[in-house]
Amino acid sequence: MDHIVSVLLSFPPGNELSNAQYDKAAQAHIKKIDKLVEENVPAFAAAAPQCLELVSPEINSLSYLALLRIVLADEKTTEAQRVGVLPKLVTFLFTFDPRQIRYAGNILSAILRAIANRELLPDSVAVDSLATAILRINPAGSMLTSHHISLVQLAYESNCIDASIPVLEKTVVFYPGMKGAGEKPFPSDMTLTPPAYITVDSGLTTKLSTTDVLQYDLLCGLCFMAKRMWQQAFDALERVITYPTKDTACSKIMVEAHNKWILVGLLLYGKTPSLPAITSPGPQKMFATLGKPYASIGKAFESLTPDTLKAEYDTFLGQNFFAEEANRALIDLVMMHYQRWQIINLRDVYTKISLEEIRARTQSAETCAQLKTEKEIETLVQAMIDEGMLNGVIEKSEDGSKPAYLTFLSLTEELSEYEFGEKMLATAQRIKELAPIVKATSERLATSREYIRHLVKEQKREKDGGSRDIAVAFESSIEDEDLMTGIMAGH
């Protein structure tokens, strides 16, 4: 027992180590633990619960993880013991040392998978710990892993979305299995870019399929929709739509995303969004045919009266179309937003308008009629102002000499030179922060086999081509001369 504890506590050593030394020490430590376990499994398993009390999850993360695995995997562990260990597991996931954990990817992944399968923790805790663990492995969240996919599925299915939002909001630019990663660096190097240490070999992720990636972004969109974060939902769906494809391929997920994207676009911008230019031609064609009902809804939404929208809606509703497409709630929201956008569009025409006039000028798409009282309009407009959809104020005169009216406030305030500079600088800064990623990408591309082969070929051709050009030039000049002499002789 003492021997076990001393081994467990021996890593990390107190003094500073270089990356290479750290790498060596960590590998050795893992071997030592494995040996301990192999020598006497029952003894180790028996000692594990006690050891968990002695070993710090923060400092001795590798050892702690090994203990957790033994406890959770051992057949003799009673249900009570298992439950007792779970709080420790959560603490561990919230506090582990990200440097050490790079050496135990397989074990960590096994535990995370078990959590994602709802085997260990209740849903809300599971989502929270998964999200925290993912961000501890890669704080920038710039790399998609298999855990992201299980997280978003779990969050969406269990409807515990809040805790997963910090992960879902991160910009993903790396994917597992990228070719051209050069020589193997030490995982202990904390300056590494995520794709260098989050690899299939390290066990921190598994290989992903195209479907996984598409599904991840679609589910992200759905989660954001559930939280009414329309802009984020729109962006996520747009990522699915513009997914790079070859040979006019198109996935069903993309079509589904496109249809939802139109509806979210209507809520967000009040008009049908136009397809981004980078959408591949195959999906574009597919969207045009399969997205027709949505396109017609979008067109009807833009018209000045709700009659067509209502008619379209009723037809599709009759066919149970939206329920089959799982868009019922979304389309109902679109119907509700029609009048809101009518009111917002009045902004282009009026600076001040009485509530009574708003009532007369706008109709609800749900009933195809104007609202009945000024009070209802006031509630609606006030709700829009409160939600930040509309920039304006409702004003009422004290003495009742004027009707209650809405004043539209200007959308964009003119910025002072200083504020403007600040904003531009912030953007510039964010672009600068991309520099490491750009560097990593360009290094990866420059060292890839295909590129080098291409480069060699290019250089070779340049050499050959140059000499051939000279020969051609020489020949043609000779020909010219011949011609001239011929003519001269003719004279």
């Binding site: 993903v172 994917y175 679609l218 513009t242 996935s251 799982a326 929201l333 009026y350 001040k352 009485s354």
Partner: protein, 451 residues
């Protein structure tokens, strides 16, 4: 209005025709004297079908006109109209004997000309073939078979030899296309004509060219182009060279109205009022000239009033009828826009007195103008005034700069993402088309609380 007239115009209304109740300012007989050829009947019938006061007179004149020609179809059409509108008139019954004899004559003539043409073709004399085709085409045109006429006229083309012939073929084809209201074909034939005609007959041909070009643009609702064509019509051209499609007065009205609808004040001054060649035409219609002068001088309500006074006349014009509401609306909104230019804020009452029509307040019109983007202003219905929106270049610049920077950032991220996807070999491949990826189906992931 008596019962039969009422029934007639109800029928016309149901067919989507335009009905003009006001008495126009022109005299029907004098008006129709300006024209020659088949357009006379077209114009008379249109007036008969549209104008309440002139209905019976115009229809009777149309019947007389049809009887002078050999077009039995037109005769029937006009008599049908009159039978509903004024059954008691003597002209309202079919002249069966005339109909039969004309139809028999037409058949015989078609037969004779076709036979002749066959003979010419066998003799292979180009000039005879051309004339044979032309005779047959003219005969078909006069009997109202416009499709056949167009076909025969275009068959003349391979056998033309002199520039005059080319111009003639062009004229025939343009005239027939105009009658068929086929504006695209008018343009096509005109471009062929324009490229080939020469100094010979310059004046008459060029006037014909410009007028038909203008009509073709008008038919396609290209008002500015149409106006420019009419404004360039040669004043020295003899009336006879183009009065089978329009009269000089028409040129002045078309040119003036369309210019008003499509040009700003400066252009009106230079292209219309100071245009010496168009002046000749403009003098024939002094009220058009007055309206333009009023517009240029900023007396917008006077301009609108004098145009309104002649609305009935223009609604009875064969080419203008369909476009008058749009032309008038364009002029009106241009007046309002021009009126507002010197102001930053105008009270709605002032606008109402300047432009208002008693039945409808101006606000509604302003609303649609602002929504359509023709007017850069905003309405304040509480304090009852209209503020013009001045462009703020600084704000625009700032917004566009911020947007560009943001777009650049997003694009860079997206490019990186795509490169990574390509590197990880995650692009969607063709062979697993549709369904292969359809994992996320609605059964698996039911929608959660969106609503």
């Amino acid at each position: 209005m008596n019962d039969s007239l009422l029934a007639f115009f109800t029928a016309m209304d149901n067919q989507g025709g335009v009905i003009v109740r006001d008495t126009p300012k022109f005299d029907l007989d004098l008006y129709i004297q300006n024209y020659r050829g088949r357009t006379r009947f077209d114009r008379l019938l249109l007036i008969g079908r549209s104008s309440v006061p002139l209905c019976v007179d115009a229809l009777k004149a149309a019947i007389a006109e049809a009887k002078r020609s050999r077009d039995t179809h037109r005769y029937r059409e006009a008599v049908e109209c009159l039978r509903i509108a004024a059954p008691s008139e003597p002209e309202a019954s079919f002249d069966q004997a005339w109909l039969e004899s004309t139809e028999a004559f037409n058949r015989a003539e078609t037969h004779r000309l076709t036979a002749e043409l066959k003979g010419y073709k066998n003799n292979l004399i180009k000039e005879s073939i051309r004339m044979g085709n032309e005779d047959l085409a003219k005969h078909l045109e006069s009997t109202g078979d416009l499709n056949g006429a167009a076909e025969m006229y275009s068959k003349m083309r391979p056998d033309v030899s002199t520039p005059k012939h080319i111009a003639d073929v062009g004229r025939h084809l343009v005239r027939v296309s105009l009658q068929r209201r086929d504006w695209g074909m008018v343009s096509a034939h005109l471009s062929k004509m324009g490229s080939s005609h020469n100094a010979h007959d310059e004046d008459s041909v060029s006037a014909f060219l410009k007028i038909s070009q203008g009509l073709s643009y008008l038919g396609q609702e290209k008002f500015l182009e149409a106006a420019m064509s009419f404004l360039l019509t040669n004043p020295a051209a003899p009336e006879a060279s183009f009065n089978e499609i329009a009269s000089p007065n028409d040129v002045s009205v078309y040119g003036g109205l369309l210019a008003l609808a499509s040009m700003d004040r400066k252009d009106l001054q230079t292209h219309v009022l100071d245009n010496p060649s168009f002046r000749t035409y403009l003098e024939r219609e002094p009220h058009i000239r007055r309206a333009i002068t009023q517009f240029v001088n900023g007396r917008y309500s006077a301009c609108i009033a004098s145009l309104e006074a002649h609305r009935a006349d223009y609604l009875l014009d064969i080419y203008l009828q369909k476009h008058i509401p749009k032309i008038y609306a364009d002029i009106r909104s241009k007046c309002i826009v021009q009126y507002l230019i010197p102001f930053s804020c105008v009270s709605l009452d002032t606008l109402n007195t300047a432009f208002g029509i008693p039945s409808q307040p101006i606000e509604e019109e302003l609303f649609s103008m602002i929504q359509a983007g023709t007017l850069q202003a905003k309405i304040n219905t509480i304090d009852k005034h209209l503020t013009t929106v001045s462009a703020n270049p600084r704000l625009k610049l700032q917004a566009s700069a911020l947007k560009t920077a943001r777009d650049f950032e997003l694009q860079s991220i997206d490019r990186l993402r795509r490169m990574s996807l390509a590197a990880a070999d995650l692009e969607l491949k063709g062979h697993k088309k549709m369904g292969g990826h359809g994992i996320v189906s609605s059964d698996l992931y039911d929608e959660v609380t969106v609503g």
